[in-house]
């Protein structure tokens, strides 16, 4: 009997809350409208509060929210240690993505009129500023936010740090703005002189320009002074040293000329230089701040969390833990796929640990809840530590960055020496005017800003773009390393195939389907879910004594007979696991499962072949299965290996030129052995420790996107480097031979920086626009 006879045609439903497509499954979905109970709860909550507009905004394109919400922790007092006299609070709200979130969170005063006066969200930093009424309770607000599916965290002790950061940012904007305004005004004066003003007017222009340049150098240029002082104290060479030196020499020489009634003043060039340097640094620091959208977030120190260590909580089914805990009473099954990559539920006994990110799947005995003691919260949880590790990597500069940084410094040092020789030589011949003018032109025109800023900018953009696409790149060198890759190895189970089981054949008499349904509908095990989605909803027999034994099967008595589903001895770990359906020890039939290939695998493997990569499959599955997959994907059978243990996988990989794509636990060694490892969704901890790249969503197309992106990054690096070297060689030469005066140099210098900047920026912008169209 084939499965098509009894299974209903499957329809893809769209969840009204989270807009995700899903297959309806009565064991996890409350109705065909919602993909899970959490979504239903939030949907009803929002509708009751009159906030349905949230969904309109989302559907109008303002929404990118894809995550189903977290179920609220019930019966927990939020923010116990909060100083209740404070009337304005800052909350970090995790899970904020889009315009619809902004709209919703700023509607809090409407829903909680008695507690909240105003709510404003900073979407870039995910911070919500709340002003409370005299009787307002922050816990009420936090409960509401949590019930909507976001993760609120109260920020208390970091307050001073945040005020400081804010002031620093304001100061940066002020310095830049003032430098810009004054440089612009100075330029107006200078243009008058260049246009032919002479005599008293010209002198007036020069004096005004000189006056205006004082705050530019000493106020706006503050960061240059600070950097140079630090570099002298700590004895390293800073790029700012020659820049500041050139600026100061130009500044004082101009004043000397001014007092002597000469018109050789350079106030316009030096102020524009300060402005341009500040502007490029501001752009860069803004970009860095919004990197990955993970700025100043939960895991930082001093953040209050809703639960307190040592507290005892009740765990219910479907609950998603936000803390680490120790199970005290009532063994339960949890899904800790987030940590291990294993989607089958794991039995946790009393005294064992459960980590944040786990989902409660069911209970061992006929109980409805387990008791846990909170062991770690917030930054102390294992999950938070992993994420922290990830973020630390974000701040690291890559090897390329360091290389280009070194090159820039070497170049500066060389220019500095050449400049000194040039100055001394002309000075020796008594041509002081010429000495100063040529040296300054040289310093200004060869400023390696282009190189020093374009490289980190390129990497920042690339990291951001990969995050948008769904890749977290842990090691920025991953872009550079990709050029070595010749061979690409794929794991089979969970990587080329879906990790969710699908029923391949179901040989069960039609009359028994309702009994089977009774058995599996109450279980959350992947096997049961697969059967349930295959046989569909319908009549189920009344079952009593229902039990689930992990690793064995489920059993129940129906109409006085003992029914059970048991793991077939063919084994559950191999490619096609099977279960047997028994009634009173009599085998009624067998259900066989298969892991179907991901839809995008065919195209991807074909494309990689075309691009000249060698594609391999390494799998722990039986060789027959692996060969059949290889055949489907048009791969040479020599390149597909089955029956491999994790150690064997690692041995098959050539560490100098290979990319490994795997999904976690059994691929760790291989991920580590390869030049680059890409870990598919699931098994975050393992993946992060051993691979360079992590996929946020399981989509094989990301492998191609990564390779394309890496190629682009390298191309941009190279073009920028060639361009600025050529540029510096030519213009530096002109300056040395006195063919370029400092003013022309100051006009030409930013041209190189701007063109390198613009090239980098538009390279990424273009791809963003293309993505918008698809």
């Amino acid at each position: 009997m084939s499965s098509t006879l009894i299974s209903e045609p499957k329809i893809l439903h769209k969840c009204v809350h989270c807009s995700l497509d899903f297959y309806y499954n009565s064991s996890t979905c409350p109705s065909p409208d919602y993909c899970c109970y959490g979504c239903k709860t939030v949907y009803e909550l929002l509708t009751q509060s009159g906030l349905q507009k949230f969904y309109d905004i989302k559907s109008e394109g303002g929404g990118t929210c894809f995550r189903p919400p977290l179920p609220a922790l019930s019966g927990t007092a939020y923010f116990k240690h909060w100083d209740s006299s404070a009337r304005s609070v800052q909350l970090y709200v995790g899970g904020v993505h889009c315009t619809a979130c902004l709209w919703l969170l700023e509607k809090i005063p409407q829903v909680l009129a008695e507690d909240v006066i105003s709510a404003r969200l900073d979407i870039g930093k995910s911070l919500l500023f709340i002003e409370l009424t005299p009787d307002g309770e922050v816990s009420t607000v936090a409960s509401l936010i949590r019930a909507w599916g976001y993760r609120p965290e109260l920020i208390t002790e970091t307050r001073d740090i945040q005020v400081l950061q804010k002031k620093e940012n304001q100061r940066q904007v002020l310095e830049l703005g003032i430098a810009g305004a004054l440089a612009g005004n100075i330029m107006l004066m200078s243009i008058g002189v260049y246009a032919g003003a002479s005599g008293g007017i010209a002198t007036l222009f020069d004096w005004v320009a000189g006056g205006l340049s004082i705050p530019v150098v000493f106020y706006s240029g503050r960061s240059l002074f600070v950097n140079v002082r630090r570099s002298i104290q700590q004895k390293y060479f800073s790029i700012d040293t020659p820049i500041l030196l050139a600026i100061l020499v130009a500044f004082f020489w101009s004043w000397v000329n001014l007092f002597n009634g000469r018109h050789e003043v350079y106030f316009d060039s030096l102020t524009s230089l300060v402005f341009l340097i500040l502007a490029s640094r501001y752009v860069l620091s803004t970009l860095r701040r919004y990197d990955l959208g993970l700025t100043s977030s939960v895991e930082k120190e001093g953040v209050e969390t809703p639960v307190v260590v040592g507290e005892t909580l009740i765990l219910k089914i479907n609950q998603n833990l936000s803390f680490d805990a120790i199970l005290r009473k009532g063994a339960c099954f949890i899904n800790q796929a987030f940590l291990t990559g294993e989607s089958a539920p794991v039995l946790i006994n009393e005294g064992e640990s459960i980590y944040a990110g786990s989902i409660v799947m069911g209970f061992a005995e006929s109980i409805q809840a387990s008791q846990v003691e909170v062991a770690a919260v917030g930054a102390e949880t294992r999950l938070a530590k992993i994420i922290e590790q990830l973020k630390q990597n974000k701040g690291q500069s890559s090897r390329v960055e360091k290389l280009y940084d070194k090159l820039a410094k070497a170049l500066m040092l060389m220019v500095f020496l050449v400049g000194s020789v040039l100055f001394a030589w002309h000075g020796f011949h008594g041509q002081w005017q010429e000495a100063i003018s040529r040296t300054m032109a040289l310093f200004i025109v060869t400023c390696p800003c282009a190189l020093a800023f374009a490289t980190p900018l390129n990497i920042s953009f690339a990291l951001r773009e990969s995050f948008w696409r769904g890749l977290i790149i842990k090691n920025p060198d991953a872009f550079e390393l990709s050029q070595k890759i010749k061979k690409i190895f794929f794991d089979k189970t969970g990587t080329l195939t879906n990790s969710n089981l699908k029923v391949k054949s179901l040989a069960v008499p039609l009359s028994e389907i309702k009994n089977l349904r009774a058995l599996v509908s109450r279980s959350k095990h992947p096997v049961s879910c697969a059967i349930m989605s295959d046989i569909g909803l319908g009549e189920a027999s009344l079952a009593s004594n229902w039990r689930e034994n992990l690793g064995v099967g489920v059993s129940a008595s129906i109409a006085g007979r003992a029914y059970s589903l048991q793991k077939s001895n063919a084994g559950l770990d191999i490619a096609e696991p099977a279960v047997n359906f028994y009634c009173d020890e009599k085998n009624l039939g067998q259900i066989v499962f298969s892991n179907p290939l991901r839809a995008e695998a065919f195209q991807l493997v074909g494309d990689l072949h075309k691009s000249g990569y060698e594609v391999h499959i390494l799998s722990g599955d039986r060789n027959i299965v692996v060969q059949s997959v290889a055949k489907l994907l048009n791969l040479n059978s020599k390149n597909a290996k089955g029956d491999l243990f994790p150690e064997d996988k690692a041995k098959c990989i050539d560490s100098s030129n290979s990319l490994f794509v795997g999904d976690g636990i059994n691929d760790v060694l291989a991920l580590k052995a390869a030049t680059l490892g890409i870990a598919m969704h699931g098994g975050l901890q393992v993946a992060l420790e051993n691979s360079s790249i992590y996929m946020i969503r399981p989509d094989l197309n990301l492998v191609r996107e990564y390779l394309q992106l890496a190629k682009k990054v390298r191309r941009i690096h190279l073009i920028n480097f060639i361009y600025s070297s050529l540029y510096n060689a030519v213009s530096g030469g002109l300056a040395i031979f006195g063919l370029m005066n400092p003013l022309v140099a100051a006009i030409v210098m930013p041209l190189s920086a701007t063109s390198v900047f613009a090239y980098t920026y538009y390279s990424y912008r273009a791809s963003k626009l293309m993505r918008g169209k698809t």
Binding site: G62, D122, Q170, L174, N185
Partner: protein, 48 residues
């Protein structure tokens, strides 16, 4: 060209007024969050 002796102080005065306004604007926090206002403006006001 004597008009310049009046125009220059006027131009500088205007410049200084704008710098003063700019400083006030920055201090009042309008530059603290450059991302959200751009999104917020897309949301319609509710008619009440």
């Amino acid at each position: 060209m004597n008009i310049l002796y009046m125009l220059i102080p006027m131009a500088l005065g205007l410049g200084l007024i704008f710098i003063y306004l700019f400083i006030r604007v920055v201090r009042s926090g309008q530059y603290d969050d450059l991302k959200t206002p751009a999104v917020r403006i897309l949301l319609d006001e509710e008619k009440k």
